[in-house]
Amino acid sequence: MTTTSETTTPDRAWIADITMTELERNPYQAYERLRREAPLAFVPVLGSYVASTADICREIATSPDFEAVITPAGGRTFGHPAIIGVNGDIHSDLRGMVEPQLQPVEVDRWVDDLVRPIARRYIEAFEADGHADIVTQFAEPVSVRSLGDLLGLQDVSSDKLRQWFGQLSRSFTNAAMTEDGEFANPDGFVEGDVARAEIQAAVDPLIDKWIEEPAETAISHWLHDGMPPGKTRDRQYIYPTIYVYLLGAMQEPGHGIASTLVGLFSEPEQMEEVVDDPTLIPRAVSEGMRWTSPIWSATARISKVPVTIAGVDLPANTPVILSYGSANHDTGVYDAPTRYDIKRPPLPHLAFGAGNHACAGIYYANHVMRIALEELLEAIPNLERNTSTDVEFWGWGFRGPTSLPVTWEV
């Protein structure tokens, strides 16, 4: 005779066996089971509760009982106060600092003139070759150069910006914890520290200059906007948010461009439709963001009070990681979610998050991805994936293809 508890309490031991390596290689399998069996569960290797379904992610992201918290590895990498991990007045001030440049009406004013020449320049460098790696030769450079120029980092090379986001990204997602709640791989933060030191060495002289001579760059605006005459925001106050930009905002449009292309290559008829009709590109990008969400599992919330979510009692001060990449594969919302399909009903997805910490750069990022793909498919409408190798995706916190070799007839 089995006991009642055995039939009503599913065996959760498997959750303790989830490893960081497995999540970084392919998180979808583990998360599919989490969504099915334990959509809000404590995952030991992450040392945190994890929300994996669309409903629970959205509920927590928009709940007044929760506020933002940066993941431990994220906090270790960025320091305080990073815009993604603060609340109240500091959060309001930082949002007020970054948002004016990111308003749709403002972005519309300059985004084409900013991004299109950059995309064209990178295409010109390889278009006569008949082959390229889209990730390293196009998606990443266009993403970092566009934002780099917007921030005022014209003198920092695209390769350096790509190197920084890689270092910050690996440090930010060095999430594995020991049973004692310590970082399992403290050495994994060293490269993030190296990147931060390099960034400060490059940006400090610019800040010195912009304090004296305000310029039309985002960082200059961050120093001056909303401050009393003669005062500027302290650089240590804005650096964590500069790191947020140099990681997420630099890396993710590149991930989105590359993932969208991989998705389109998986559906040749849809690829052809999009090539023939560039007005479909925004739709293709939106589906790419759902299909492989670039910010897969990099944001978190913390309960302010004891709260019960999806039948799970959480005490006050319980962090929950929001796995938006999983929520966007929730079969309760999407049919056949693993398939890239621009024809699916255009339901809202969570790739840009939700609530008052939703991505401030959503409009900008969508346009960077749109313009990059418009230029690429206009210049090389005969683009084909090099099928001699499989496309490999990597990442749990941030996710995208590691490379995307393509060929075309010159």
């Binding site: 090539v275 007005t279 210049a379």
Partner: protein, 340 residues
């Protein structure tokens, strides 16, 4: 009962049984359109406010989700209330619009010019403004059947319209009318101009090289386009392929020879799909799209113009892209089968 459609800052009165597209074009308000029978989706628009009747909009072209989301096909939908609509491609008004008109034309001539092919010349009571490459609709007498035929004219040839018509076995318009009972002097109703197969306005035409591929009577609009492009820029490279089954299907060869003589950068290439070309003839064997691939190494900066049966048009789009023509520079006019 008429309702008002507002698009941008323009207002158009739409009759009860009048498609929005018909009303817009008659009022001289440009709206993207191509097939005018609900199959291509070019005229899809968003109804921001108000009710429409989708009429015969096919489910393939306008899905249930799209209807739910407020989209409509302007060529099929009629208004059921005053409405506000917006086009999906952005602003209305891409260049000069020639109002859609109904005219009664007189058949001036109706001659066989190639195998199963007629040239119909229709004299108009007054000039019709159109863009070369656009088409007109004829209504088969005693029926409601409408058939679309491209104009072979340039814009200044606005008093006598030239149509090229190939006989369709059992066709109500061809076998039972144009190829049999239609006589010189007949008065026939003509509606036009329609369609989006035309050159950019002269001030935004970059003068870039052009390739035009016509299958059978798909040559007609290409003649108007090529002559217009060459008159704008006599040194422009214009490559015109005419794909037919055999030598007997070729026509307008004198005109092609004349254009070749006057414009050194104009090339005419007749291609026979079902006959071996005679020795030393200028004819080529096979399909025009394959010859284009052989003839042109790179079509970067070119525009492409395709008119003919859907498989030819699709092969042309692929060939153009293979030679890296920008997709937005590819223009296509498909012969869509009559739906009634």
């Amino acid at each position: 009962m008429a309702f008002t459609a507002t698009v941008g800052n323009q207002q158009v009165s739409c009759g009860e049984d009048q498609s929005m597209l018909d009303a817009f074009l008659r009022a001289g308000v440009w709206m993207p359109n191509s097939c005018n029978q609900g199959t291509c989706g070019t005229c899809k628009l968003r109804v921001v406010d108000g009710d429409v009747d989708h009429g015969d909009s096919p489910a393939d072209t306008l899905t249930a989700e799209e209807r739910e989301a407020g989209l409509a096909l302007a060529c099929q939908a009629t208004l059921r209330s005053d409405s506000v609509v917006e086009t999906l491609g952005g602003a209305v008004g891409g260049g000069i619009t020639h109002p859609l008109r109904d005219l009664t034309a007189t058949v001036l001539s109706n001659d066989e010019i190639a195998r199963d092919t007629r040239r119909l010349l229709l004299e108009l009571p007054e000039p019709l403004a159109f863009h070369p490459g656009q088409y007109v609709e004829l209504t088969v007498p005693g029926t409601q059947l409408r058939r679309q035929y491209s104009l072979a004219n340039t814009a200044d040839e606005d008093k006598v319209l030239e149509l090229h018509i190939r006989s369709v076995s059992g066709g109500a318009a061809t076998e039972r009318w144009i190829f049999t009972s239609m006589a010189v002097g007949d008065q026939i109703p003509v509606t036009g101009p329609l369609g989006d197969f035309f050159l950019p306005a002269e001030d935004s035409d970059d003068g870039g090289p052009m390739v035009l591929i016509g299958g059978g009577t798909g040559l007609a609009p290409l003649i108007g386009l090529a002559r217009t492009a060459l008159s704008r820029d006599p040194g422009r490279r214009v490559l015109l392929y005419h794909g037919v089954r055999g030598v007997d299907d070729l026509y307008n060869l004198d005109q092609m020879a004349e254009l070749t003589k006057v414009y050194p950068a104009f090339t005419f290439v007749p291609v026979l799909s079902h006959e071996a070309p005679a020795a030393e003839s200028v004819h080529r064997a096979g399909f025009p799209t394959d010859h284009f691939i052989e003839d042109v190494d790179s079509a970067r900066g070119w525009s492409g113009w395709l008119c003919g049966p859907p498989p030819m048009v699709e092969a042309g789009v692929k060939a153009f892209k293979r030679r890296r023509m920008a997709p937005r520079m590819i223009h296509r006019e498909k012969f869509t089968p009559a739906t009634d």
